[in-house]
């Protein structure tokens, strides 16, 4: 791993200032994606701005669930408040990687990274979350812009993710057994504006499955999804699964997610 300068600012403002001063700097939260990426030589930032001293973890539940960016997957998974308000979100967090990854990895880092096989982006899109940054609030629809890319500007820091509370929601993933990432993961929510279904792992980035959403319009039950499908065209095809197999898994996982919805 190439060497870099290490900063540990105590406030978001200082972090943003440091990032603006160093064009090749990168933020670090849990480091569970960034450090492996740097070890592989896929990133070699001049400076690391560690957000670990911002004290930006915590969960507030009111009309919505607001999770600060530095909250770890383990904290979300074990939060009694999240389990009560959006049980599917706690379950999703508890299924990320393994216990050691969950102790370090954060929701902000996961959402900023937008790995096409990551779990959290599907909850953000499936629930219609809002991403809060130091500068603005961005709707999930506008935030995830493709493989590993987001609407974040240079130096912009995610500060929190705000989730509306659905009537009910469920998440089901078919994990790649080696990495635990989603080969296909489906987040299905019955919301005030109707059913929402977001798919991760299957395409170049998280997307909403409109065919499944309209099928669920007949009633938020697994049976409504019989015969509904997302076309295989354009889905990922790799050594783990063909596009056709992923398309098949989407409907299967969607049914499981709806069945599990609470």
């Amino acid at each position: 791993m190439e060497n870099f300068n290490y900063y540990r600012p105590a406030s978001v403002d200082d972090a943003v200032k440091a990032a603006k001063a160093k064009p090749d700097a990168k933020y670090m939260s849990g480091g569970m994606t960034l450090i492996p990426t740097m070890k592989q030589g896929l990133a070699s930032p001049s400076d690391i701005i560690d957000l670990g001293a911002l004290k930006n973890s915590g969960i507030a539940v009111g009309a919505t669930v607001v999770i600060k960016a530095g909250t770890t997957h383990a904290e979300v998974a074990s939060s009694a408040d999240v389990k009560k308000a959006i049980p599917a979100l706690a379950a999703l967090a508890g299924g990320i990687g393994d216990p050691h990854v969950r102790h370090k990895g954060t929701i902000g880092g996961s959402v900023a990274n937008n790995d096409p096989a990551a779990d959290y982006p599907s909850a953000c899109l499936g629930l219609g979350a809002t991403i809060h940054t130091n500068a603005r609030k961005i709707k999930a629809e506008d935030f995830f812009t493709g493989m590993f890319s987001t609407a974040l500007e240079d130096g912009e820091v995610i500060t929190a993710i705000e989730f509306p509370i659905p009537k009910k929601a469920g998440y089901a993933k078919f994990p790649n057994p080696a990495s635990r990432y989603a080969m296909v993961g489906v987040f299905a929510a019955d919301t005030a504006e109707g059913p929402r279904v977001a798919v991760t792992g299957a395409g170049a980035g998280v997307f909403r499955a409109s065919a499944l959403e309209s099928a669920l319009g007949k009633g938020f039950a697994a049976g409504s999804l019989t015969g509904a499908a997302v076309p295989a065209k354009g889905l990922n095809s790799d050594l783990h699964a063909s596009a056709e197999y992923r398309a098949h898994l989407i409907t299967v996982m969607a049914k499981r997610a709806v069945d599990a919805a609470k």
Binding site: E2, G31, M32, G97, D98, P99, H100, K104, R180
Partner: protein, 154 residues
């Protein structure tokens, strides 16, 4: 170079590190505590797991500089007065290892598991919780038996 100080196995330690120095490098190379292993270096195998402020983390995927002020426990810090920790004892009694390379990470991860979930662990829970620890020798069966027995004795 960041200067850091932390508590490792109850003792205050300090040193200068590069930004890129990993926590596991600090532990093994600066402190000479080679019980913590590096198996994969790709964040997958769990041989490098240590407790940081009481929580299991992969020390190959953590910067030493980010752990200034941390309280770290490695496998060397588990025995008390020359007596092995109940989890170490259980791995020995149940033949929960063959080559032993994964064992320090397995033992630390298992202690973390008990700290979070209690002493009464089902086989299913143990297998699920060990997803971040890979063993290429045992086939896991005796590891699971060791964790169950060790948990009960903690």
């Amino acid at each position: 170079m960041p200067a850091i100080s932390m508590k490792v196995n109850g003792e205050a330690v300090c040193g200068d590190v590069e930004g890129r120095t990993l926590l596991v490098e600090f532990i093994r190379e600066k402190l000479g505590l080679t019980g913590t292993h590096v198996g994969c270096d790709t964040s997958q195998c769990g041989a490098c797991v240590v407790l940081v402020d009481g929580k299991a983390v992969k020390s190959c995927t953590a910067l030493a500089a980010a752990h200034d002020g941390a309280d770290v426990t490695t496998v060397e810090g588990l025995a008390r007065d020359g007596k092995m920790h109940p989890m170490q004892e259980a791995f020995k009694d149940n033949h929960g290892l063959q080559c032993g390379f994964c064992t320090p990470g397995m033992v630390i991860a298992s202690i973390d598991m008990v700290n979070r979930l209690g002493k009464n662990l089902s086989e299913e829970t143990i297998r699920h919780e060990l997803e971040g620890n890979i063993c290429r020798c045992t086939g896991y069966h005796n590891i699971v038996a060791a964790v169950k027995a060790g948990a009960a004795n903690m």
